[in-house]
Each structure stands twice: as structure tokens, then as C-alpha cells.
Amino acid sequence: MKRFPQTVWYAFGLVSVLFMISPLAIVMFFSFTGNRHATLPAGGFTFDWYRELAANPDFWPALTNSLIVVGFVGLISMVIGTLAALALVKLRPGLAGGISNLLAFPLMLPPLVLALALVTSFSWIGAPLGLWTVILSHLVFTQPFVILIVTAQMQGFDESLIECSRDLGASPWQSFSTIVLPIIRATLIGATLIAMSISLDDFVITFFTIGGGLTLSTLIWGMLRTSLDPSINALGTLILFFTLGASTLALRITNYRG
């Protein structure tokens, strides 16, 4: 068998990248054009759909709720994920691998099953559903990403730096805050941004664990079910802007590549 010519590979690469991004580009494009439906020619440039979105009485509470959830999920998963990652790199590889697999196991299940297990358990212990149950539930599938990213960074970490600082009389906390933290700071910010993107993007688990109330993703679900309202394009663009922007930024600063 002969090798495919390089041009065939480039053509394939181009087509697959277009396949991945063009649906997203289409949503962004039509959020700025005048037509009610996604038709060409597209009509003039307009911010009408963003104005319509801002006038939607559900939008602002949903945005507030999303910001609360995303903020807490990002912060908590960063702290507990980093703690776990720092502990994991010290364990022997076999045990660390086993624990990482256990912590990442929730990612392997369909979100629907996880959501239903959570909501039946909350009702079993009589916990009222609300934003805090959403936050707790999100931690299950955001912490594995933080752990993965921070562990990847810590594997290249020079342990002797910590030993040096301890030999020179630094307390464990001092050596963490003055040696480890500055080195891994960018990674932590990146991991937090990724956790926030995943949390913002989640629909299934939010939908079941929120009880009443709306977040941006459950708002978009409601809009998708009821009408083909062009302000969905505007809301979709906002969500894409935050999730794609945050994760691209995060990937740049952490240099994490899978």
C-alpha cells in the first residue's frame, strides 16, 4: 500500500476541522443577522437578538444562577482537585492509578443515569433541591478534569525544590505557598477555567438537580422546545463565547494537550 499524498491529508484535516467548527460558526453568524430564520441571504448586521435576549424576563435570573453555580463549582473543584492531585503524585503509581480511575469513573456513565441517581438520593435524604444541589452534583464530573490537568503538571515538578525549602526551615504551608503555588499557578487557573466551562455547559445534571429555577443551559433547553426564537442564536453565542474562550485560554496557559 502506498502512502496517501500529503495533500490528501491536508484536505482531510481541513474538512474535519470545518466539520467541527462550522455548526458553531453558523450559530454565531446568524446571531448578528437580520432574518428571523437562518436563511441566506442573511440580512443586515444587527444586535436585535441580543436586545431581545436581554428583554427576556428569564434571562437575568438564569444568568445570575449560572454565575453562582459556575463560580462555586470552579472554586471548590480547583481546591479539592488540586489537593487530590498533590496527594496522588506522592503515592506509588499502581495505587495512584487505581484512585484516579475511581475518581474519573463518573465520566464514563451517561449523565442521565448519574442525574437520576443523584436526584433520587437527594429526595431520599429529604434534601431540598436548589442551586446548592446543582453545585454539589457538578463537582462529581468537574473534579476529575482538575485532577488530570494538575497531575500532568506535577509529574514534571522538581521535588528537590520542596526539600530545599524544608531544609532551610520553611513550614509545609510556607513551602507550598512560596514554592509550589507560584510554579503551578497558571495550571490552577487553567484547570479552574476548564471546570467552569464544563459546569456552564452541563444541561442534563443541572436540569434534574435544580428543582425549580433556571440556569443558562436549562433556559436554552426551554427555548429550544418551545419556539425557533432567533435569540437562541444570541444566547448560544454567549455560551460558546464563554466556554470556548475560557477553554482556549486555559489550554494556552496550561499547555495541557490531553
Binding site: A38, L83, L102
Partner: protein
């Protein structure tokens, strides 16, 4: 220091899953749950939802197979053939991983609808004289939306396993007279087995458990098990049956994945 993470995974994952599993053996009578140990819910799930389950597993296999083939080619491209573009393609793949689940489905709705962009293009170029109606609200729409959504999830594990391959092994094989095909078959493919299996597993399980995509783009006659599981909770409050359906589905998926793994092992064995 592991305590908080382990607490989260046990209190919010292991325990809820165990409780949810226990519920599948309970009984529902006039909207109240009674403790029991019966396999009745599983029997009901088997008799009433077998068709939907077979269809769902079939769809999951289709989506997983298509996603796997495209993702492998993409990961191979990024690792061996993209040259200076590899970083950019990888970054795009990673960035689309983390955003826009509902937005992506909505985008496919605007592309595939009867007045959608694809139909306008087909009509405009004169390739068809009437809008193609089976593009949206059909199994085809589910397959294309889910393949698009799952592609980055599948590319990354395969890429991770391809990245670990030592290029000297490939060069050595070539020096010893192996053709490109032979080097691919006996060096690259066997060493990417773990990535292939993880990619296949993710694509298969996500499709098997999805109800959002079938609801939004699958139309009124396409029912997947996820839709029924969801409606047991939302419309009928029948938690035990929903739970039995979930675990029945997970068990079937496990069996299929074990078979897939055995087949993969057998196929990728170096001759």
C-alpha cells in the same frame, strides 16, 4: 489530602448509584415506593422496552463506529501528518470539547431543517427539486449530531495513545523492509489499542444514555431508551422502572463493550 475528593466521589456518586440500584428492586403502588426484592421491574423493562433497547444499542454501535473511524484518522493526522498545523488542529479539537452541548444540537437543527442551510444549498444548486425531509427529525439527524458532539472526546484518547508511540519503532520497522501498511498494522495500530477502546466506549455509552439529542432532532417516531428512562421520572414518577431500565441498559452496554474489547484484542494482535 485525598479526603475531600474521595468524599465527593463516594457521597455524590457511589452511594447515589447504589441507592438507585436498590430502588430498581422496589415496587411502586399508587405513586408511593415500597421496599421489595423483586425482578418485576426488570421483567417489565424487558417486555415493554426491548425494541427501543435494540434500536438504541444499534444506534450506539453506529455512532461509535463512525466516530471512531473519523477520530482515528484525525488523531493520526495530528500526530503524524499535520506538520506545523498539528498544534492548531489539536487546540481546536480540545476547545470544542468543553463547550456548547445544546448549542451544537441547535446548530444541527438550523442546518438540517427543511428550510435549513443544507436544503437551501441543495435547492439553490439544483441538486434536488424539493427540500430533503429526512435530514432532520430522523435517525440520520441523531447520528450526525452525536458524531459531531463526540468527535473531540474520541480524538483525544486516541491521540494520547499515538503520542506515546516511539517513532524509532516505526523507523526500525521501515528499515527492516516493512511497508507503510505493515508498519501501521503491526506497530501503530496495536499500540493505540487503549485509545481506540476508550474512544469507542465514550461514544457508545454517551449515545446509549442520551435523551436530549433524540428529543430535539430525532422526531416523534424515533424513541431511544434514554427518552423512556427520562419520562418514567418526569411524567410517571415511576422511579423503580426507570432505575431498572437504566441498569438493564448499563448491563447490556457492559456486555457489548466486553465483546468489543475481545474483538479488538483479536483483530489487533501482531501477526
Amino acid at each position: 489530602m485525598l479526603a475531600p475528593s474521595l468524599l465527593v466521589v463516594s457521597a455524590l456518586f457511589l452511594l447515589p448509584m447504589a441507592w438507585f440500584f436498590v430502588l430498581s428492586f422496589w415496587r411502586l403502588r399508587s405513586y408511593r415506593l415500597y421496599p421489595d426484592f423483586s425482578f418485576r421491574n426488570y421483567a417489565v423493562a424487558w417486555t415493554e422496552y426491548l425494541d427501543a433497547a435494540v434500536f438504541t444499542l444499534w444506534m450506539s454501535l453506529t455512532v461509535a463506529a463512525i466516530t471512531l473511524v473519523i477520530a482515528y484518522a484525525m488523531a493520526f493526522f495530528i500526530r503524524f501528518r499535520a506538520g506545523r498545523f498539528s498544534g492548531a488542529v489539536l487546540l481546536i479539537t480540545l476547545a470544542t470539547l468543553f463547550g456548547g452541548y445544546l448549542v451544537k444540537i441547535y446548530a444541527w437543527k438550523t442546518i438540517l431543517g427543511s428550510t435549513g442551510i443544507l436544503n437551501q444549498f441543495l435547492l439553490g444548486t439544483g441538486l434536488v427539486s424539493e427540500p430533503v425531509s429526512w435530514l432532520l427529525y430522523s435517525p440520520f439527524a441523531i447520528i450526525i449530531s452525536l458524531t459531531h458532539f463526540l468527535l473531540p472526546f474520541a480524538v483525544l484518547p486516541i491521540y494520547a495513545s499515538l503520542r506515546r508511540i516511539d517513532e524509532r519503532h516505526i523507523e526500525a520497522a521501515r528499515d527492516l523492509g516493512a511497508s507503510n501498511h505493515r508498519a501501521f498494522r503491526d506497530i501503530i495500530l496495536p499500540q493505540s489499542e487503549s485509545g481506540i477502546f476508550v474512544a469507542f466506549t465514550i461514544a457508545f455509552l454517551v449515545t446509549a444514555g442520551d435523551y436530549v439529542t433524540p428529543t430535539l432532532v430525532g422526531g416523534s417516531s424515533t424513541f431511544m431508551v434514554g427518552t423512556f428512562i427520562q419520562s418514567q421520572f418526569v411524567n410517571r414518577m415511576n422511579t423503580p422502572l426507570g432505575s431498572a431500565l437504566s441498569f438493564g441498559m448499563l448491563a447490556s452496554c457492559l456486555v457489548i463493550l466486553l465483546i468489543a474489547r475481545a474483538l479488538l484484542r483479536a483483530c489487533l494482535r501482531v501477526r
